[in-house]
């Protein structure tokens, strides 16, 4: 494990830091404006998106240069700008952004790769009628992703996280008329949602324990020593501290977004979206958001670790990452869709990144993330170019011989492929992967992840070789002849290819600039760095492994690329395992049988409850009301009316009776008169006597 220098936030954020919020804001504004545009305004929407991204890229560069400048002066810079959004009593709901080396490199990477892909999309989506909508969504995604990167408040991060998930759904389901695309979008959203639920739980717990949403707040933030000490002191279930439990919850969210096992099932299906989307979102940036999140909350993940030791959370991250790396690589071996191979490859490489974070720390994982972003985006864009040139064909068994038909694509693709395999020395992938392998070799808990990762590297080389031979080697097995793509698509490929090679330079042991930059200490060029104990041996091992993988692939497949009707070469050797791998190790089927079946049953129960019980209750209430109404009517007609009528009749009878007093006969009048006088007289006499 490396040592971390504690960053002290500047007391006064520099002017650069104050305007850093523009970097995500501009693409979001561009998306807002583009959403109001009508379909024919294609050029305008593309201009808005690319223009906003350009400005964001330049601002990112300026921020990056500023931070590098600070670093060169020996200042460990972390500039935060915090804003109080809501105040409830003594608790604050804060938002804010942070500019430190981690966010600076991420900003540059996201804006640069994003910009290249935007430019590529203008060529790729040229014939699509929903051009404007595409750029609106792309821009929104870029803005949200940048928001995730600079966010200093875990709430703001979550909000941008959710927008990223939303735009991913919108873009996967871009061709929504295709049922498979719509289903894939829904699957992506729901699967990442499961992770997000745990993430939200972690956020709430963190907020309630530490009382703040900010990561860094001049000593009061949740990633700073005071809060972490408090979290460590608080015990949670199963022998974990609160710090460990929250870290695991947050990792669950990252696992959903980054396609770790078992929440990886959405990523291959997400290839239903257009290729630029696959390149940007599902290779370079969105899936990297999970890795970035772990890097951002790394102080929490590593809290309580003794020197040289590790925490429960980081151990879990490592194991999940290592397992995912091998799992996905195995499945990639037996896939026939060009994009699906790359998708599984992405899952596998994300596993590498997670393992790197768990074993080696922030710098190791993030370095691989940066290099991966470039070469995976390159590979996806190259695949897009191939698909475009083959008129929409995606099955590699129906391609072939494109080496001569699409030479530029082939060249750039080959560079990307070698970088992914980790071809020694020249390609960035070698250096970043080696960093992870080195950390794995020295991991204190177990050596198994190391072996798994080495095996994964073998598989990576194998399946990439297979893919390249299928696509570019042999003869053309498809229908119409293929053609090279336009310049607007080739140019980004060239840029990415350049960086796929060049980025390696900043991560070599001789000059570990990247690690030094992220960790905040000085770096010097030292050729003797190569001679650290165990390092040449490790480099040798990885070289051998890559060569072996490439050789095996070439042996099996060169000159033997079959048509779709014929079985694959590996299939002929081992048909049963091939079948399992081709069927993606039945994870989706397992989910279908367990989770989805349970859910369907539960939906039926809820429906029964709704119709019978609640519906019955409502019907019962209605019945009671109707009954009450009838009772009222009965009472009204019979009792009230009847009583009233009867009363009136009796009154009439009484009146009739009384009218008999008026007999018209004098004598009866006289009698009454006499009686009255008697009574009156008696009363008077009695009262005078008393």
């Amino acid at each position: 494990m490396h040592e971390t220098i504690s960053f002290t936030p500047q007391l006064m954020a520099s002017p650069i830091a104050v305007i850093v919020w523009l970097i995500p804001a501009l693409p979001i504004v561009a998306a807002g404006v583009a959403s109001l545009l009508k379909q024919p305004k294609r050029k305008l929407s593309a201009t808005l998106a690319i223009g906003a991204m350009c400005i964001s890229f330049m601002l990112s560069l300026i921020s990056f240069v500023h931070i590098v400048g600070e670093w060169m002066q020996g200042i460990a810079a972390r500039e935060v700008v915090n804003i109080t959004w809501i105040q409830i009593g003594t608790t604050n709901v804060d938002l804010g952004w942070v500019l430190d080396p981690l966010s600076a490199v991420m900003l540059v990477m996201v804006t640069f790769v994003g910009l290249l892909i935007f430019i590529y999309s203008t060529g790729y989506m040229k014939d699509d009628e929903n051009y404007t909508r595409f750029f609106c969504f792309l821009s929104l995604f870029a803005g949200a992703m940048l928001g995730v990167v600079i966010s200093n408040s875990i709430l703001l991060l979550f909000m941008c996280w959710e927008i990223v998930g939303l735009t991913s759904y919108l873009l996967i389901g871009f061709w929504y008329q295709k049922p498979s695309a719509a289903a894939a979008a829904k699957k992506a959203f729901l699967t990442t949602r499961i992770g997000d639920v745990f993430f939200l739980l972690g956020i709430v717990w963190l907020f309630s324990q530490t009382g703040t949403l900010l990561f860094y707040n001049y000593g009061a933030g949740s990633m700073e020593a005071g809060a972490l000490a408090g979290l460590l002191a608080q015990p949670a279930a199963w022998g974990l501290t609160a710090a460990g439990a929250i870290a695991l919850l947050i990792f669950a969210g990252a696992a959903g977004k980054s396609g770790q096992f078992p929440l990886h099932v959405w990523l291959p299906d997400a290839m239903e979206g257009p290729t630029p989307v696959s390149a940007l979102i599902h290779a370079a940036t969105m899936v990297a958001a999970g890795v970035y999140l772990i890097a951002r909350v790394y102080p929490l993940m590593a809290a309580g670790a003794l020197a040289g030791g590790t925490t429960t959370a980081l151990t879990v991250v490592t194991w999940v990452g290592a397992f995912t790396a091998v799992f996905a690589a195995l499945i990639a071996v037996a896939q026939n869709d060009i994009k699906r191979i790359l998708a599984y490859s992405t899952i596998s490489q994300l596993g590498y990144m997670m393992a790197g974070l768990g074993m080696g720390g922030v710098a190791v994982g993030i370095f691989h993330l940066i290099t991966h972003a470039f070469f995976k985006a390159l590979l996806f864009l190259g695949a897009g170019s191939v698909i475009h040139g083959c008129h929409g064909e995606q099955d590699i068994r129906k391609m072939g011989g494109l080496k001569s038909d699409m030479p530029l694509t082939f060249l750039t693709y080959a560079i990307g492929m070698l970088a992914l395999c980790g071809f020694p020395l020249l390609f960035s992938g070698f250096w970043s992967k080696d960093g992870i392998l080195e950390a794995a070799e020295h991991w204190s808990v177990a050596k198994t992840p190391f072996y798994l990762l080495v095996f994964g590297a073998l598989l990576t080389a194998f399946y990439m070789m297979r893919q390249v031979i299928y696509v570019f080697g042999g003869h053309w097995r498809g229908g119409k002849a293929a053609h090279e793509s336009s310049t607007v698509m080739i140019a980004p490929l060239s840029f990415l290819a350049f960086f796929a090679i060049a980025l390696g330079a900043i991560g070599t042991p001789a000059w570990p600039w990247f690690r030094a930059f992220l960790d905040g200490h000085a770096a010097a060029f030292n050729p003797h760095g190569f001679l650290e104990p165990g390092l040449p041996a490790l480099m040798g091992i990885s070289t051998v492994v890559v060569a072996l993988g490439l050789f095996l692939g070439w042996r099996l497949y060169a000159d033997r690329t079959p048509k779709p009707s014929q079985p694959d070469a590996l299939e002929q050797i081992a048909p049963l395992p091939w079948g399992w791998l081709r069927d993606r190790l039945y994870v989706d089927e397992l989910y279908g049988v367990t989770v989805i079946a349970f859910y369907r049953w539960w939906a039926r129960v809820a429906d029964w409850l709704d119709r019978r019980i609640w519906g019955g209750a409502v019907a019962g209430v209605v019945f009671a009301f109707a009954l009450w109404a009838r009772l009222n009517r009965f009472l009204d007609t019979n009792v009230v009316d009847g009583g009233f009528d009867k009363g009136c009749d009796e009154l009439a009878v009484g009146g009739g009776l009384l009218s008999r007093v008026q007999s018209g006969r004098v004598q009866s009048y006289l009698r009454i008169l006499a009686l009255a006088v008697v009574l009156l007289a008696a009363f008077l006499i009695w009262s005078s006597m008393a």
Partner: protein
């Protein structure tokens, strides 16, 4: 019992008898007879009080009784004339049958 009290009792008795007659007999003339008895009883009362009163020399009671006799005579004349007229009209003096005032 003082003489006055006995005279008063007699007057009361006569009055009641006259009232009974007026209330119970059918014939209209009998009613008038009863009324005459009542008037006479009242006269007796007046004279008795005059005789046994504080100032008999003032003759108030006697004069009153004389006037009462005069008025009673007039009233009997008119009343009987009315009875005769009713008899001409309704051919009967039965009071039970005369209920034209009904209602």
């Amino acid at each position: 019992m003082t003489p006055l009290a006995s005279y008063l009792l007699v007057a009361a008795l006569l009055f009641s008898i006259g009232l009974a007659g007026a209330l119970t007999r059918r014939n209209a003339i009998l009613v008038l007879i009863g009324i005459e008895l009542m008037l006479n009883a009242a006269n007796l009362n007046l004279i008795a009080f005059w005789r046994y009163g504080p100032h008999p020399e003032r003759m108030t009671g006697m004069i009153f009784a004389i006037f009462s006799i005069a008025v009673a005579a007039a009233e009997a004349a008119v009343g009987l004339g009315l009875v005769i007229q009713i008899h001409r009209h309704a051919k009967t003096t039965d009071l039970d049958a005369m209920n034209r005032m009904k209602g």
